[in-house]
Amino acid sequence: MWLLRVHKRLNKQLLIVGIFCLTCFGCGKEEQEVNIYAASSLTEAVSAVVERYEEIYKVEAKIVFAGSNHLAAQLRDGADTDVFITADVDLVDGLGFESILEGFAYNSLVVVKPVAFIDKSFGPSDLTSDEKLIAICSEGVPCGDATKSKFGIINADTYEMNVKAVLTRVASMEVDLGIVYETDLKNEPNVTAAWPQEITCPCVSYAAASSGKKGTDFNDFLTSDIAKEIFSSHGFSL
């Protein structure tokens, strides 16, 4: 009987110690962890930058990738992050970030087709004809606004919510043509330029908004030589 009682007490003490350990583990980690929200067009490049950042500064980082508007909407509704990297600097307005780093990388748009359609030839007139299936970004999201200002009216068949969705449509051959970022060409082996295109403008300029020391430290790293090298190796202009 007494054995049981001792056990019970011991259990309770263990439980308290256990809970205590769990809480301190949790808070310790959270204090060091850098939270990053980044536009989906940056998925590969920012992942690579963050990996180097973690290595060099021995910190942990958590990244969320989604369309810039989607992330901004989440932040407006109470999500919290140290860094918000967006393809449209206007989206930062009213989110309460302390500092903004503008134009640390640029991207341009390109018309792509599936690699499997290598024998089919396309031209700019296909963008306005009814014959081809075309996916582009929806107006209102950064890649869609850029598409509109660069290409004007396009006879599209589907308007996607972010550039990765357009890329998926082309890569899976569900559409003939899609308009994506130049950098996507490097990251997706199943798509290729639909015809030789001159890169005429830096259509999209990325901005990184940050709050607190963790955020500012990461933003400083974004302009370091290491980060610059990663961005240019992924096809961004600087």
Binding site: L133, S138, V141, D157, T158, E160, S172
Partner: protein
């Protein structure tokens, strides 16, 4: 009337308040003053009409094909019945986006059936209104089948057998004896699956894409607007809520199996 125990009332109240609070939140943030302009815009009108077209077409397809499935599941001696039922109900648990991707693998341009449809009939489903209906049928069919199958099971087969021995033809037996008794469940199942089709988002955007006037139903328009024009999203949500209430409220008392 039976007295309902206080505990039941308490828990029911909590649950109802929980279900009601998001609705209150929505109404409280609604931009009432600019509502007329928002509701009158082409985007809203197109999405509304398209949603009606897609959800009612889906409900019709569900009715025509759902009754035979339910009948078969309830009455057949097919050996792998449990497996078959699980397959039929799968769209209920499958994340809709996965369902949409799977539909692409089947009916997309590169899909094993889609390829054939396009080569032989020049028919492509993705990026068309028909594709939206296909996606809606896929996700909403199980809701109807569940309701109607249980109705088939609950009715006594003796009456049908008696009618048969008295020489009634199978169509007559179905129309005069079976159908009237499963009718309330058909209506209830139809209302459920229609509502599911109206709210369908994930499979539609994955399979049919997003094109105003063609595949952009209310939920798609809402999702896009949430990120780019939040007040329009609220107005669109109001349209959806009013539409579904307008259809579902009249059904409730008249047709659901009564006590």
């Amino acid at each position: 009337m039976n007295r309902i125990p206080k505990t039941v009332v308490l828990f029911a109240t909590i649950a109802i308040l929980f279900l009601l609070s998001p609705l209150i939140g929505l109404l409280q943030r609604m931009p009432w003053s600019g509502l007329a302009d928002l509701l009158g815009s082409d985007v809203v009108l197109d999405a509304f009409l398209l949603s009606l077209l897609v959800s009612f077409s889906a409900a019709l397809a569900v009715l025509v094909f759902g009754i035979p499935i339910a009948w078969f599941l309830a009455r057949s001696n097919f050996p792998f019945m449990k497996l078959l039922r699980a397959v039929v109900l799968l769209p209920m648990v499958l994340p809709p986006v996965v369902g949409g991707t799977a539909l692409l693998f089947a009916f997309g341009r590169q899909g094993f059936l889609g390829k054939w449809l396009s080569d032989w009939f020049g028919l492509t489903l993705p990026f068309t209104t028909a594709g939206s209906v296909v996606a809606a049928v896929f996700v909403s069919m199980p809701f109807f089948v569940v309701a109607v199958e249980s109705a088939f099971r609950s009715i006594n087969e003796d009456l049908e057998k008696t009618a048969e021995t008295l020489g009634a033809s199978p169509p007559k037996i179905f129309l005069r004896i079976t159908l009237p008794r499963i009718f309330p469940s058909i209506i209830a199942g139809l209302a459920l699956s229609w509502a599911r089709a109206l709210g369908e988002f994930g499979a539609t955007i994955t399979f049919a894409g997003n094109m105003p006037g063609e595949t952009q139903t209310l939920p798609l328009a809402i999702f896009l607007a949430l990120e780019t024009k939040p007040e329009a999203a609220l107005a669109l949500s109001l349209v959806m809520i009013v539409t579904s209430l307008a259809i579902l409220i009249p059904f409730r008392d008249q047709w659901l199996p009564s006590r």
